[in-house]
Symmetry: C2
Subunit: 726 residues, 2 copies
């Protein structure tokens, strides 16, 4: 059973469809709303900037009134960029071996991602750093819709096919993702893989507990909390381990300054002699403290809304006895669901303004701050309803609901008090619904729906284009006609590029957040239905492949950004494992004996003891794990030692160490050292093969500027004409 | 007012007393209980081993039946050892600049401590590592009482004199301690300095609170807890900062294997090609788990004893009305104090056996494990009595004490119940007594008492030696006579060395522990008497100087061991700041309103809220501090960057980087770069001056072996004779 039936045709198609024709990067320039002359000016300026940065260009028309500017970095220039980037890594202490060579050295990239990262820098960095400073949707380039690298279809298909037949991803699979998409994406897949493997324990233990003791059992609660602690502590070590393996440890320091960063002054660093932009950390910290009122207001707003919805729902279902009860019961939830997007949209806008105000120097820090805020909001919407059910509605509902009754509102309280019976099963039902149905719906919304939308849009566009081409065919000159119609050899390739240009950007934080929420459900409410982990385990098998499907076929290929962690999610996981211990203790205490008797002092004592047990266990687990698992870190240290020793020997035996060092980075195998399989296809460097015929032909057109201008004139006119016709 | 009147004479004495005559290390060989022939064999073997390790020797007699073997490392050999040590640092990634030079390079030590560390390695390391493998009190060398370097009296006096006139230690003072005694000792002084400076806040705030609100005030409680969190988080950053400044970050990895380490197998590391001793970390972790039953038993034993003592004391003072009450009241405490040493001795012996069984590879790890156990025991004896007073005796005493009364023991409980009144002031009194009187007594016990003991012992020995020399003067040959009587030029020097040979070893962990206990008092019970911090502040001014006095005049100079932290005390501090938040909350809740009404559920709620507030504050403080204080770490990173950049430029402009790199470690000023004063005397390298006349004379004696044998014969006989005479 292959998961990717839609992929087959691409593979059976002729080779050019799979090949990227040597294109390194694509800029999607849209001029729908622009004057033709303005558009031509901007296009000329774009080409000028790109050529100035030593980049080769080619142009074709895109969907609608848009241009696709293809960028290729000359091989020698690219090799030098890779070398310069490594020198920078060495200077900032990310790697410890000085890459051999001088200013003009041309290095081979170890992975496609490394090469693409240099291309990304060449396209986006400031001119003073040697880039073309193309910033999509910002400032001078606000008409550039996107700038992205092209997918390596063969490699993607190979990986997806391999995974559809296996249960677990291997270390080599993760290395392959890293080689294709960079470390930031690879860290997410490493996380979901580790997490899913760990899920086997609560799934099995949950099944056993459920069979023997049912819900709310102490053995499962203990096992589950301990498991959560072990997993979080394990992941911390694993993350460091991967960061060392992928040589990205501490990579945050060499990220470039965001173009929107505001600084107070520029200081020349007395040690390095570099100009450093300075913004007082005190001021930044003070600004960050605004997070406290924001989080409070957001929590109150969301929480209040949830409480009101909940109260209304309870009121209607338990107290209201009028007509249309069956429909009215769902009304509050429906209204809430309808309001939620606009409220969280508003909160997100405030959060974004706050993050901008906090003024982070690098895009990385900015992303982390923004994601943290989104996490907080997301956690509230995800968990608060269930928390209310578990700790307010079920235990205290019998006392609270009569207060909502018409009798109580009128003032006579003797009424109705004994007619209310709260079903303690409600928590379990809610957990089952949210964890299982919710996961399936999410999957559909996240992967199936966009896929269907994309197919429909494509069909519609094809239909529309067939009609509109008939119209403008006669209006334009012969030369323009040539650039408006695709060369049959390129047409499949161009269709693919046009689709990729319109595809979504991949947001790795969202996928990570989704896994964190799942982890949260398990630790917070797992005790109420031990089978929940089993459901998650099955879901995650699909989720992992679905996410890769989405990444490789429904989204643009992300720029291969480096990162040494899954970011703020790690803190989220820690907080959840702590809240989980408290919540599990409270749930077991409250629900175990069917709510017979609740004493506040015993509940508080349970919470206090659970918290101390949590702190003690976390300390023991983190100490123990670090002791047992440090072999990987030790191996890393030994490797570093061996490298230094080799360097020392070379230096002392040869006089100049240069000759020997060269060996090191021609050694492309290093990513796959521990692999027993032969290196997978993407290791065969896509960027360094002899240009194919079609590729040579694609890049041979020399009249890029004229071609572009012709397209703008033709399509600008066409769209204006089309508007007139409508 | 000078703190060190006793130091004056040494300074006014002629120069040779201050000078160490080029002696790098002293081995104190004791043969009191040995056959003369056995002693001669061992001595010969000792000299053989030392000469084999390329060390020069000289011999003089010590106090009683003992030999002082003086060791000097030839300057060229020492310089090479220093270079080799730096190469090793570089290989293991402690430093990032490859020291220039080849196998035979002779490097200047940056500090006396660096030179002495190489001497220490030459004397103690295994023969396979190039050392003489002298292991005092262990195995083959169990008759060697100690092996130690000599104090640099001029530098010590200079520092002590400087500090007696200042309030705060500067960064340069810490650098000087590091230069004299190594990083492990310097870390303790850095800690007490940071801690004492931080004490200014609770001292001031405590005085204000005491004036306005008296004891048990909420403002002081909040301020005190927050202060504790800020201090611990600050110290963590400060520690890393210092470790980077002193280039010892991660130095634990290159410590050598303990001679008592037992390994399962030796593996040749595939990466480094070195032989690595392997002992399963799983087994070690399992053995470490024995700590849990040990800690439980120790807590129970100590705790039980304290509880019984306490109960007896209460019983006698509150219930007993018989004769001799005034004396009997103190009996339990006296008995407890008498038992305590033997009980904690027993526990320490068990702890030591446990630590040995845990089988650590390096002495560092062993020390840490042993210290951790001692900390636990020490904390129990230090804090449990006050905890009992605060949380059992005062709040519940009125209910519990009647149970101890004779009436209750007989069975009729109606009696006595209303005659008991517990004074809530008792907690305050106990805290005042323990924190103030206790500190003064400790100081006396730790510094004054040993000083007096040493002086008395010295006088007694002088008296006795004057008498005994009269006896054996005639028995020995002329040659022996020569070696038994000191050259007048050397006699002052030899007297000093003999005293140092008999002095205690300095245990830096004990001093650190003492500060932790003080910190614990403040955080746990500070709320009951806010002035306590003021007392501590005054005490610490004296304590710091007293500790340095002890280190430099009453103890042997410790081998300059490296370390990158104050060790397990850091975890102790964290635990204490957490317990402090809980304890402070409980004390304020219980005592604020004079024990009118105690509700268990409110108490538990207070504890839970205090704990959450603690966790939240710790997170906020650690995030904020790391943000604001990372400038020092950034400066470090910038320095590293600058070094790498310089290296890169040198490499690319000159072909071979060697010429330039040499500059770096001739640059002895680097420890004092930020000092505005001229370098203090100890920076003038003691080891590299032209040998003085007296020094040349001291080392000119070539008949080391014969001299030693003569001394053994003479003193061995003498002592046997002396025994016969007695």
């Amino acid at each position: 059973m292959s998961l990717t039936p839609n992929y087959k045709p691409a593979e059976q198609a002729p080779a050019p469809l799979l090949d990227n024709l040597g294109v390194d990067w694509v800029v999607h320039y849209e001029f729908e709303d622009l004057d033709t002359s303005k558009a031509i000016d901007e296009f000329e300026s774009l080409l000028h900037d790109l050529h100035e940065a030593n980049l080769e260009t080619q142009v074709r028309h895109g969907h609608g009134a848009s241009l696709l500017v293809f960028i290729r970095v000359p091989r020698a220039h690219l090799g030098n960029l890779v070398h310069q980037s490594r020198i920078k890594d060495w200077l900032y202490g990310i790697i410890h071996e000085l890459p051999a060579g001088d200013e003009g050295t041309i290095a081979d990239a170890e992975t496609p991602a490394e090469a693409l990262r240099s291309v990304y820098h060449a396209v986006t960095w400031k001119k003073s750093l040697g880039g073309a400073h193309i910033t999509p949707k910002h400032g001078k380039w606000k008409n550039i819709g996107s700038a992205f690298p092209l997918h390596d279809q063969a490699a993607n298909a190979e990986l997806l096919r391999k995974w559809s037949r296996t249960v677990l991803l291997t270390a080599e699979d993760l290395d392959s993702i890293r080689a294709l998409f960079g470390e930031k994406v690879a860290f997410y897949f490493a996380f979901i893989q580790s997490y899913s493997s760990f899920l086997v324990f609560p799934a099995g233990w949950g099944a056993v507990s459920w069979w023997y003791w049912g819900s709310y059992s102490i053995p499962f609660a203990l096992g589950n909390c301990l498991w959560a602690i072990v997993f979080v502590e394990y992941w911390k070590i694993r993350e460091t381990d991967l960061a060392l393996r992928w040589q990205v440890n501490g990579v945050g320091v060499l990220k470039v300054t965001r173009s929107k960063y505001v600084w107070e002054k520029e200081i020349r660093d007395p040690n390095t002699g570099e100009l450093v932009q300075y913004f007082s950390p005190y001021r930044q910290f003070l600004r960050q403290l605004l997070l406290v009122p924001f989080a409070s207001v957001a929590s109150l707003a969301l929480g209040g809304l949830i409480v009101v919805t909940f109260a209304l729902e309870v009121f209607i279902s338990e107290v209201y006895t009028g007509s249309l009860k069956g429909y009215l019961e769902f009304l509050p939830t429906v209204i809430f669901s309808l309001c939620l997007p606009s409220i969280s949209g508003l909160l997100t806008r405030i959060a974004t303004r706050l993050t901008k105000y906090e003024n982070y120097r690098t895009q990385d820090q900015y992303d982390i701050a923004q994601t943290t805020k989104q996490f907080v909001m997301h956690f509230i919407t995800a968990f608060l309803p269930t928390v209310l059910t578990a700790f307010v509605y079920v235990p205290f509902g019998a006392k609270l609901i009569p207060l909502l009754s018409p009798a109580a509102l009128r003032g006579d309280s003797a009424d109705l008090k004994h007619t209310i019976h709260i079903d303690p099963e409600r928590l379990k039902q809610e957990v089952i619904y949210l964890s299982l149905t919710g996961q399936v719906l999410d999957f559909g919304q996240e992967i199936v729906l966009p896929y269907v939308k994309r197919i429909v849009l494509q069909k519609w566009r094809e239909y529309r284009e067939q009609h509109s081409t008939v119209h403008h065919k006669r209006d334009v000159s012969q030369a323009t006609n040539q650039v408006l119609f695709d060369d049959p050899n390129e047409s499949a390739f161009l269709t693919r590029v046009r689709n990729e240009a319109e595809a979504e950007e991949y947001n790795v934080h969202e996928d990570t957040l989704e896994m964190c929420v799942q982890f949260g459900y398990l630790t917070l409410f797992g005790a109420s239905w031990p089978l929940v982990a089993l459901g998650f385990l099955v879901n995650n098998w699909l989720e992992l492949r679905g996410d890769f499907f989405k990444l490789s076929l429904e989204c643009q290929r992300p720029p291969p950004i480096r990162s040494d962690s899954i970011g703020p999610s790690l803190q989220g996981l820690e907080v959840l494992s702590w809240l989980g211990a408290l919540s599990t203790a409270a749930i077991v205490y409250l629900y175990r004996d069917g709510m017979v008797e609740i004493r506040v002092s015993s509940l508080l004592l349970t919470l206090l003891l659970a918290e101390w047990a949590y702190l003690a266990m976390r300390f023991a687990v983190s100490t123990g794990l670090r002791k047992i698992l440090d072999s990987t870190l030790q191996r890393e240290a030994a490797k570093r030692y061996a490298m230094r020793k080799g360097y020392l020997e070379a230096a002392s035996s040869e006089g100049s160490p240069r000759g020997k060092l060269r060996v090191r980075f021609r050694d492309r195998v290093s990513v796959y050292t521990s692999a027993t399989d032969p290196p997978s296809p993407q290791a065969e460097e896509m960027l360094h093969e002899a240009p194919l015929d079609s590729e040579r032909r694609f890049w041979s057109g020399t009249s890029v500027l004229e071609d572009g201008v012709r397209i703008i004139r033709a399509l600008g006119k066409t769209s204006q004409k089309a508007e007139k016709e409508l």
